[in-house]
């Protein structure tokens, strides 16, 4: 089996250094250590971005762009030990901006992008349900979609989501309940 990579940055021994240590090293001029942070968190939020944007390709662009922006603004990361929470907010803004940009253009194409990743051993009915739900998710507002993705795809509790987004649990629940009703309506129309 062969593993390869152009650019030479991705193949590297992982370190146990904390996020704060790496951020401080990068700010001190050791730019290449930023790759450790990218390695560490690129996949953690890949699924969030893919479900928010409706396709893995769009997610890849968003995650890449968010990491580049985070690098540019690294000096503004007030607590380097909490880099990941700070980075998530940059990625979130990038996803919301992308959704506003593409909302009127191609949400259905985006949904098809996710559907092409269906696993071979899944029955057609499950795949169809997933496709229908992904279409319905893309019809929610970005705020509704986000709370649904964080709770039901990423598995976070309301309390964890509230801390991450600096909001209240009752406000999140209201958003989520609207999302449930809208999804129900959309799925009924689909069937």
């Amino acid at each position: 089996m062969l593993f390869s990579g152009g650019g030479g940055y991705w193949l590297r021994a992982e370190t146990d250094a904390g996020d704060g240590d790496i951020v401080r090293a990068v700010l001190a001029g050791d730019r290449e250590r930023y790759a450790e942070l990218v390695d560490r968190y690129r996949d953690r939020y890949a699924r969030y971005a893919a479900r928010m944007l409706g396709s893995t390709d769009a997610a890849e662009d968003a995650v890449q762009d968010a990491f580049v922006r985070a690098f540019d603004q690294l000096a503004q990361c007030q607590d380097p030990n909490k880099f990941v929470g700070w980075f998530f907010l940059i990625l979130r803004n990038r996803c919301f901006a992308e959704q506003r940009r593409t909302r009127t253009t191609a949400p259905l194409e985006a949904a098809d992008g996710v559907a092409t990743q269906e696993r071979a051993d899944e029955v057609a009915e499950t795949v169809e349900r997933r496709r229908a739900l992904q279409h319905a998710l893309l019809d929610l507002t970005p705020e509704q979609r986000e709370v649904f993705v964080l709770k039901h795809v990423e598995g976070l509790s309301y309390q964890e989501i509230a801390e991450r987004l600096s909001t209240s649990v009752p406000s999140l629940k209201m958003r989520m309940h609207r999302a449930y009703d809208r999804l129900r309506e959309q799925l009924r129309e689909h069937t």
Partner: protein
């Protein structure tokens, strides 16, 4: 209640606060509909292995541009001065030949005896750019200085096996193989 809206108790089921057994009988059908909705959630992990080198390449590209923009200012000032002094504009100005990006190609190829790189930058000659084995391991590397632009390439293992880079975008070469694409 609008029948498009879930009953508040069913919302609690969706939120994971109760189970379907906690619902009164008249809400069970609605509860099952809610659970079917959750069952359709796709939690398949998504992996983006190419993002690391794409991010670092983007940062490196920008650094090269910044470096050149800093060099360009005094160079242009000098050029302007020389133009005024000797009226020979062709004698001055920065050389595009120095504007290159350093890229390291890496391949882990267990059991390989020889690995090389073939691409648009060496006229697809598999003998032109051999990779160097790192110690006694399976790691092969080559560092090239390439001009900005798009390059296509593939690894060649033991002179016969052409291997595209799975972490890079690829295009069909028109002969049934895939070429990796590196944009600098």
């Amino acid at each position: 209640m609008n029948e498009r809206e879930f009953h508040p108790e069913v919302r609690r089921l969706l939120d994971g606060e109760i189970t379907i057994a906690d619902l009164p009988l008249e809400l069970r059908v609605e509860g099952e509909e809610a659970l079917r909705l959750l069952a359709a959630v796709d939690r398949t992990p998504v992996s983006l292995p190419a993002v690391t080198w794409r991010v670092m390449a983007a940062l490196e590209r920008r650094r090269q541009r910044v470096r050149w923009s800093w060099l360009l200012v005094p160079a242009l000032a000098m050029a302007a001065a020389l133009v005024l002094w000797i009226v020979r504009p062709s004698a001055v100005g920065p050389s595009a030949a120095g504007n290159v990006v350093t890229v390291r190609f890496v391949l882990v190829a267990p059991g390989a005896q020889h690995v090389s790189l073939a691409g648009t930058f060496n006229h697809w000659d598999p003998r032109a750019t051999p990779l160097v084995r790192s110690g006694a391991g399976d790691l092969w590397t080559a560092t090239l200085s390439l001009p900005p632009g798009q390059h296509q390439y593939a690894f060649v293992v033991d002179g016969t096996r052409w291997v595209p880079d799975p972490t890079a975008p690829a295009v069909d070469d028109g002969f049934g193989r895939r070429n990796s694409v590196l944009t600098l």
